[in-house]
Amino acid sequence: MTRSAFRKWFWVHKWASLICTAFLLVICVTGLPLIFGEEIEHLLDTDPPYASLPANTPSANLDEIVAKSRQMYPGEIIVSTFMDDDEPKIVVTMAPSWKAFEANRKVAHWIKYDARSAQVIRQSKPLTQESQTFLGLMLTLHRDMFAGLPGELFLGAMGFLFVTAIVSGIAVYGPFMRKLDFATVRADRSPRLKWLDLHNMIGVVTLAWALVVGITGVINELSTPMFLLWQKTDVKAMLEPFKGQTVPTTAEMSSVQQALETAQAAAPDMRVTSVVFPGSQFGSPFHYLLWAKGKEPLTSRLFSPVMVDARSGKLQAVVEMPWYLRALEVSRPLHFGDYGGMPLKIIWALLDLVTIIVLGSGLYLWLSRRTSSATEADTELMESNAGAVLAVSREAAE
């Protein structure tokens, strides 16, 4: 690498890192409990335990659960129902009206049922009145820092800078290692040299993981615009023939249980896990939108929407997801690290911790710099290589 190319890459590495480090530190720290989110949630779960029923007890009729919910909250709309595949629960989300829900999604509240007996297990207050949970707080800080979509896009940009810092870090790594064996940590010179070596070593050793988690993190931050794009293009085209129709009233809606069975028959290799009701901005004004997912480890991350006409109950389509939403779905496990059991989660957490060390040491190296920035790149390299020469000559003398 020429000296001027090195200076340019060093400049990119320095500024990309400096701009994103503070945010990345927050992301790394809040990401740590999120890795174990499922476990923490179970630990903090105060819901009464499920009634013990024979394992093969069939699921209750969805129509019965929906009717029960409407009886409890007459005049309200049902937003969606979620049929968990881990636990025997069905969660019905309701809101005063679609208009109110669109203005603020937190006006919604939910009712949790035992999926087999259709008994209510617990109800939430409207989410505007529910207190923030620990995990909810961590997730908000991790994803948007209480700034909604702008926050997501901003942290996505920070993630992009993080990826840029890794790539430029690869470029400047070589010159620093011209006279050093791999994974050498010169702890006997100065703290600065020791932390430079640790920064370079940990950075290069974990770079593939950091790149994957960085890139998938950016993709996750773009999920809102991606779903919006899908709504505006594919979904809109599908709904074209229905133009001019009104959203079906509760009385006009066909059976949800029937819609579930129709969708399940149309996607026999998949399992339907949720139903979005007609009128939702996340679905169709005229259809039940049922989300089905595969049963294998990878395909269980891939969702396909099935649309069932909410008036006639006829199957409309099993929708093929566009490539960018498939990419988003695959990027989720690779970002969360939740797909290989507890050992993988622990490894994920340790990699997260050493990334914090790389970020912190990078910041320390910049704060303890001794030169004007014009020659910073050269000075850094000279100091590092001089240290190596010293070490070699000392070794020779010993």
Binding site: R178, A183, V185, M201, A208, P297
Partner: protein, 65 residues
């Protein structure tokens, strides 16, 4: 003395191949051995860090003696 590209990059490159293998083996494999391979592949970089850290300590200790 200057090291060539291959000497500088052979270990980082090996780890940069091993890690994606570990990431994908648990995702694409059907549990069992694929999970174990994933854990091993992703634990290696952590062990390298631990080993380098350990070596640093020893060199400091030997200097003090």
């Amino acid at each position: 003395m200057r090291f060539g590209l291959s000497r500088i990059w052979r270990w980082p490159a090996a780890l940069a191949v091993l890690m994606p293998f570990g990431l994908l083996s648990a995702l694409l494999g059907q549990g069992g051995i694929w999970w174990v391979l994933s854990w091993v592949a992703l634990a290696v970089p952590l062990l390298v860090i631990a080993a380098a850290w350990q070596k640093r300590r020893r060199s400091v200790v030997s200097e003090q003696q």
